[in-house]
């Protein structure tokens, strides 16, 4: 027997995985508490999850500035990854705080919160992924958690239908994506993204590589619901429980953008001139279709779904140039998108609890019944439309300024469609403020929800009025992206 058999030698430094281990531990803890705690006390699980997330967020902030590579670039911990992780955790914290009562009404709190946390863990793994295996593992952890969350209301046919649709289409898009990734592996002999970047830069462009890139774009296009791969999202967003829709619209999309940037900007910069135009056209089509189809929607969740498709188009714009400015635009926009979307969806969730309806016409007179809900909804929608001085304006400014040089036509597409989007966003405002309510009883907003809404609104206003500090932070994070 070797003498050092029980010596603790580690093949890698596990402290780089602190955040992920804490998140996995928290998710397990919530599940275990769900078994132990009696049914009546399970509403406390939301608070446990929330405090846990805030604690892990504090650890993430304390890790700021770290720069490590695990196992030959398999796992990357840098400011870029940390920024995304903080973004995901902010979204998770807001959705948990804002929708506790909705979850209590659904029951099974332990499963709901632990799945939300596992989905967050998947996103965090994606943000740090340095190779295909890690990336795919994170992606599937996130997607499978979301599949269960989407059909969480087992007795609601719409919810189950949405779940099955999401499962099938996520499976299909994963298959397409994997096919693309295997082709890249076949051509380069490596699964590490940075290594692939070096090998592809030296190779001539082969038809197989073109096919691979197209398949990867299609697979990831599904995840961010870019047109023409967006068909699933309105149905799934409408059928899923509203808090899940909110988290799906923000978290899943942001995590996919985090990995798209890694894949394309550090993995495929060698053939940038070949995919830049594809991305630009994809962005333009997504912006146009998302905004135009949002106009005739009568269901608020469907409208927000199409609006989120359009937002995905705006974010894709930042990818086109593959420069630091573009990456910064994407990160900045995703961060502020969290607040605007969460605010809008939390209002929709709360109003659904009161009225039992997601139809736009039932929002009539909301301003008279609850000035807070109406005002928060208005600010959130105007921010998404990009009206100054709200955060959305600053975000769009950074995104579009990155492409002014070479893709001026795309800037015009974005500007014109932003103006179109103001129409359908303001239609909600019109219904809320002009029309008289059918039932004029005032709605009292419970304090956790009020805190969520006020916080999200203030964040939207502050980022919009002085984008400087956040912009500095994002600059630093985008800079570390290129240092590996």
């Amino acid at each position: 027997m070797p003498a050092d058999m029980f010596a603790l030698t580690l093949p890698f430094d596990p402290s780089a995985l602190t955040l992920e281990m804490l998140m996995a531990g928290l998710a397990m803890l919530v599940l275990i508490l769900g078994i132990i705690v009696p049914k009546g006390a399970r509403h406390g699980l939301g608070w446990v999850s929330l405090l846990g997330i805030l604690g892990i967020m504090a650890v993430a902030v304390s890790l700021w500035g770290e720069k490590r590579e695990l196992l030959n670039g398999m796992y990357l911990l840098d400011n870029y990854a940390l920024f995304w992780k903080i973004t995901f955790m902010t979204a998770a914290a807001l959705v948990i705080l804002g929708c506790m009562r909705f979850v209590d009404n659904m029951g099974n709190q332990a499963e709901y919160y632990s799945l939300t946390l596992f989905a967050t863990l998947g996103m965090m793994v994606m943000a740090s992924a340095g190779d295909f295996i890690t990336f795919y593992l994170g992606l599937e952890l996130m997607t499978l958690s979301f599949v269960i969350l989407v059909c969480f209301r087992k007795t609601d046919a719409k919810s189950v239908e949405a779940g099955i649709k999401y499962l099938l289409l996520a499976g299909m898009s994963s298959a397409v994506l994997l096919y693309g990734l295997t082709l890249i592996y076949g051509l380069t002999g490596s699964i590490t993204i940075l290594e692939i970047g070096r090998i592809i830069a030296m190779q001539p462009l082969s038809p197989a590589l073109v096919l691979a890139v197209v398949l990867v774009i299609a697979g990831l296009g599904f995840k961010v619901s870019a047109v023409p791969f967006h068909m699933w999202s309105p149905d799934v967003y409408e059928g899923a429980p509203t808090p899940v829709t909110a988290y799906l619209a923000v978290g899943s999309k942001a995590a996919s953008f985090a990995i798209i940037l890694r894949l394309f900007v550090s993995g495929l910069p060698g053939i940038w001139e070949n995919w830049a135009m594809v991305m630009a056209i994809l962005a333009a089509v997504t912006i146009i279709v998302g905004n135009l189809v949002a106009i005739p929607q009568t269901n608020i969740k469907r409208m927000l779904a199409y609006s989120s498709i359009a937002q995905a188009g705006y974010i894709l714009v930042g990818l086109v140039t593959a420069t630091e400015a573009g990456i910064k635009g994407v990160m900045f926009y995703c961060f502020l998108y969290v607040f605007a979307t969460m605010a809008a969806f939390v209002v929709a969730t709360y109003y659904y609890n009161v009225s039992g309806s997601d139809e736009l016409r039932d929002y009539a007179g909301l301003a008279q019944r609850s000035p807070l809900l109406a005002a928060v909804m208005l600010v959130a929608l105007l921010s998404m439309a990009g009206i100054p001085p709200l955060a959305g304006f600053a975000g769009k400014f950074y995104l579009f300024s990155s492409i002014v040089g070479d893709f001026l036509w795309l800037v015009f597409v974005g500007l014109i469609m932003s103006m179109v989007s103001v129409y359908y966003y303001l239609r909600v405002a019109l219904v809320m403020y002009r029309d008289d309510p059918v039932d004029a009883t005032p709605i009292s907003v419970s304090s956790p929800v009020a805190v969520t809404l006020v916080f999200a609104t203030i964040a939207t206003l502050v980022i919009g009025i002085c984008p400087g500090p956040l912009s500095e932070v994002v600059n630093g994070a985008a800079h570390t992206f290129f240092l590996h």
């Binding site: 058999m5 029980f6 010596a7 603790l8 580690l10 599940l31 769900g34 078994i35």
Partner: protein, 117 residues
């Protein structure tokens, strides 16, 4: 490119081989349909009654739990064979791995997945 030409030829030959069999049998087969021949092909006994019946989800839950522990055994076996050289780190890792599975089983038990209703 010559390496890839081989793959291409292989692909074409495979296509001809598959399509050729179907085409030949289509061309030379005698066509005498009997009711039995027109039935959809199925192995086993002819079905009795409606085929759209519901299965108990209990089977599914048992199968799922079985698969989890089946896969666990695969990992445990590989680890056990190399136990001496892997050392304490792998031991701790395995304990965490088994712990996670036990939490899952505990939850399933508590939720009544092991009760046959």
């Amino acid at each position: 490119m010559s390496d890839w030409a081989g793959v291409f030829i292989f692909f074409v030959v495979a296509l001809i081989f598959g399509a050729g069999g179907i085409a030949t049998s289509f061309l030379i087969q005698p066509r005498r349909d009997t009711p039995l021949k027109l039935e959809p092909y199925e192995c086993g006994m002819p079905t009795q009654g409606s085929t759209w019946i519901q299965f108990k989800t209990g089977y599914f839950l048992y199968a799922l739990l079985f698969v989890i522990f089946d896969v666990e055994t695969i990992y445990l076996y590989a680890w056990a064979v190399k136990f001496q050289s892997l050392g304490l780190f792998a031991f701790i890792e395995m304990i965490i791995f088994v712990f996670i599975l036990i939490v899952g089983l505990w939850y399933a038990w508590k939720e009544g997945a092991l009760e046959w209703q």
